[in-house]
Assembly symmetry: C2
Homo-oligomer: 469 residues x 2
């Protein structure tokens, strides 16, 4: 392997493609209990690659109920100098469920010269492997001057449940040193511009179930007397949001949502001025959209909460009134919105609204599925400036400082455990890669540039001081 980055890439990219194809072929879907064994397999496979690059690897597994609390994670360390600063590199090895609409097989990766297509290619296995190669390049060339700790979880797509436990165990077992900084490559480019994010939204996922009986009822003999739980559920959920005003109607829901005004609004306007919203929508494959300015679109995607209904269950064909109806909903959270508090507001609102309908014997249950706070990170520290300079070197452009509408449940845990360590959210993926969509892909050109950016960044931060919390 050459000391020059281009020589390294020329040698290493064929291996990179094979490695990523092997990783994508493991269906490490964390929301489907039948794939729980694949979570362990993806950790083992990744650990094997990391060991080849000089890392000492530790595979962590919880001892809890496999289907509910199974936590597999990789903590791997590469210490080049006991006096050098540590950096945590976070990625996740789990993926979304396959879903529908694939032109190829989701877990039979299709590799061309240009890209790899398969579930998890860009979210987040490609960026993870990119980071690993950046470290390996520096190590092989004798240029690695920071100690690197990989922290790879397998529950990110399931709300990072158990991540706090994984970190606690790693610290208890003295596997994980206190880092000077944390690098997270799990966000997306803005068009052709590299991006460093200053915020991520939180997430509350809940299930609402309305029960009215024990079996189907003839809607002729019952209609007007028996209550239809699908009608109740539709009514109470519709009461939660207003599509005309674009607002959530749950009382006190907006507590903790910051107003974007003054300088923050001016800054956002600057980003909006250079943002190609139509291209973003196209890259996202969004057909139907809200009618709004680019400024409002960014504000609403980055700094406003949402209320989304994803699925209804319990319905029956034909003319039967079902005995039960349930719905899966999520709310993205921002600012200081607390997932537990928002869940309580939601639950209270639903019960209150139902009570007003004055129906007899309707049972309403609201279950919290997962909850994660929004995160904001500073972008005025030398670590972020180093990442920006690295973007210019590797991606050829200065980054946009954006928000991100998504959620990474691990980040609040890092912020609590390592308050002094700045988190740098550096995008390696592109919007048009198709996060969570069918035909998800990762472009090798992006990987090559990413290796350059991250290796440059790691060199730059080797001499930076530890920040105060």
């Amino acid at each position: 392997m050459g000391e020059n980055i281009d020589d390294y890439l020329k040698d290493a990219m064929p291996e990179f493609r094979q490695q990523l194809a092997r990783l994508v072929a493991i269906p490490s879907s964390s929301q489907e209990p039948e794939h729980v064994g694949d979570l362990l397999r993806i950790v083992q496979e990744t650990a094997s690659i990391a060991r080849g690059y000089g890392f000492t690897t530790h595979i962590l597994q919880s001892k809890g109920d496999p289907s509910e609390n199974f936590v597999a994670g990789l903590v791997a360390t590469l210490q080049v100098d006991p006096n050098a600063p540590w950096i945590i590199v976070y990625n996740h090895l789990d993926v979304q469920p396959e879903g529908e609409g694939w032109l190829t097989k989701a877990f039979l990766p299709a590799v061309t010269d240009e890209k790899i297509v398969g579930r998890g290619a860009t979210d987040d296995k490609g960026p993870m492997l990119t980071t690993l190669h950046a470290v390996n390049y520096l190590r092989a060339a004798g240029k690695l001057k920071v100690n690197v700790a990989l922290v790879h979880e397998t529950k990110e797509e399931a709300g990072s449940t158990g991540f706090d436990k994984l970190i606690q165990e790693s610290i208890d077992q003295q596997l994980l040193p206190t880092p000077h900084s944390i690098l997270v490559c799990d966000t997306v480019f803005q068009g052709d511009n590299p991006a460093i994010s200053s915020s991520l939204r939180g997430l509350l996922a809940a299930e609402v179930t309305v029960t009215t009986g024990t079996q189907a009822i003839h809607s002729g003999l019952g209609g007007g007397i028996a209550v239809n739980p699908m009608n109740v559920l539709t009514t109470v959920l519709a009461s939660c949001y207003n599509m005309a005003t674009r607002k959530v109607n749950i009382p006190t829901f907006y507590d903790g949502v910051p107003r974007i005004e003054g300088e923050a609004k001016l800054n956002l306007q600057k980003v909006a001025d250079g943002f190609d919203l139509e291209r973003y929508k196209r890259d996202l494959r969004a057909g139907a959209c809200y009618r709004q300015s680019t400024l409002d679109a960014l504000r609403r995607n980055w700094f406003e909460p949402t209320f989304e209904i994803h699925n209804y269950k319990g319905g029956l064909e034909g003319t039967k009134i079902p005995p039960m109806a349930s719905a899966q909903v999520t709310m993205r959270l921002v600012g200081q919105q607390d997932p537990d508090a928002v869940f309580a507001y939601f639950e209270r609102h639903l019960h209150h609204y139902l009570a007003q309908l004055d129906l007899l014997n309707v049972k309403l249950d609201v279950k919290k599925v997962k909850g994660s706070r929004a995160v904001s990170v500073a972008i005025d520290n030398p670590y972020v400036l180093a990442a920006a300079d690295a973007c210019e070197v590797g991606f050829g452009r200065k980054p946009v400082y954006d928000g991100c509408g998504g959620t990474i449940g691990a980040l609040p845990v890092f912020q609590e455990r390592f308050p002094q360590a700045p988190i740098v959210l550096l995008a390696i993926s592109r919007v048009d890669d198709g996060y969570h969509a069918p035909n998800e892909e990762f472009k090798f050109s992006q990987a090559e540039k990413g290796v350059k950016v991250i290796s440059d960044y790691l060199q730059r931060i080797a001499t930076l001081p530890k920040l105060q919390p």
Copy 2:
């Protein structure tokens, strides 16, 4: 077979049980394309029984696309005297889909001394066979003084689509004489009281589809920008009804809905005074109900339209925004509500409401699945009085004159084709038999009494005059 009805039943009931078990074992579900062959089988099996009882049978099959327009029907005639009046006996041989919650197998009938459990036992195979045995008893005893035409369709549970065609073909082929009256046994007892219905509600079934794109979207990257079709669908459907006021909110929806006031209200109050609403709810297995008086419950079940959401499709697991969402809805119709007009009101309202939301590129499609008008029949003619007297003989009580919240799509066709023929809606089934519910049953005691009632009725109407339209 004896000339005495009790002797006949003693001899015939063992055969009745076997016949009904054979009929119920045929899964003649008319809403599931995979059972299209069973519709023909149930017609053949029933025709075979009818031939054994002296009927000349004609099996009608459409020549259309089997999955879309397949119509199988039985028209069978038994002429005892060319000068005797004809009666049409209508039943349906198709059943609801199996559904969930069965303790036994839906199409593996469980027969005890008391009853038979299986899909279609009471709706409508048991009452159909009861009628056939009533005719057979009279025939065997030399007491049949009317000519009987069986008209049995196999699409009742699918909205009686093609029934007009079946009747047209029967008339064209001179298989079906013009009747003096029509007997329909497809309604239910009121508690322990026999019932003759004066009205049935109509039915409009529709499917609403909202399309926003072509594939799933990440709700973090898209939320606040991309429109969620499940949210749109929930909002527009919730706008159609108000569970607090119990009213449908679609403009002009109530055109043609008669007010129940004056004498009609006094009559309804009399029925309500003798009606055990709590028992009705129990028999129906209705857990959650509207809070209302017995009068209001009956008024709303018999004489008010409904709006029911039965099922949603297109939802996705996890946090994905789906590209499409659809819902199956029905509305029971009353009075002069016209299914085509109500469909147009519904469609117009949905589009109008959606337009107010000012969203970009949301596609909304509304499809009419089936439509049938409400029916009201006179109860002040000698045929109904004969049925009432027969109830006293066979069931031991005078009937209640009730409404029925259900729908029989064949009846408007009969009323149009044979306007002079009074339709008598005579209940043989009981509410607690479980129409459309799992563990549907038919009690043999009800069959025995039914044979007595119908054979008595057929004797009484032999000398009645043909009515004027």
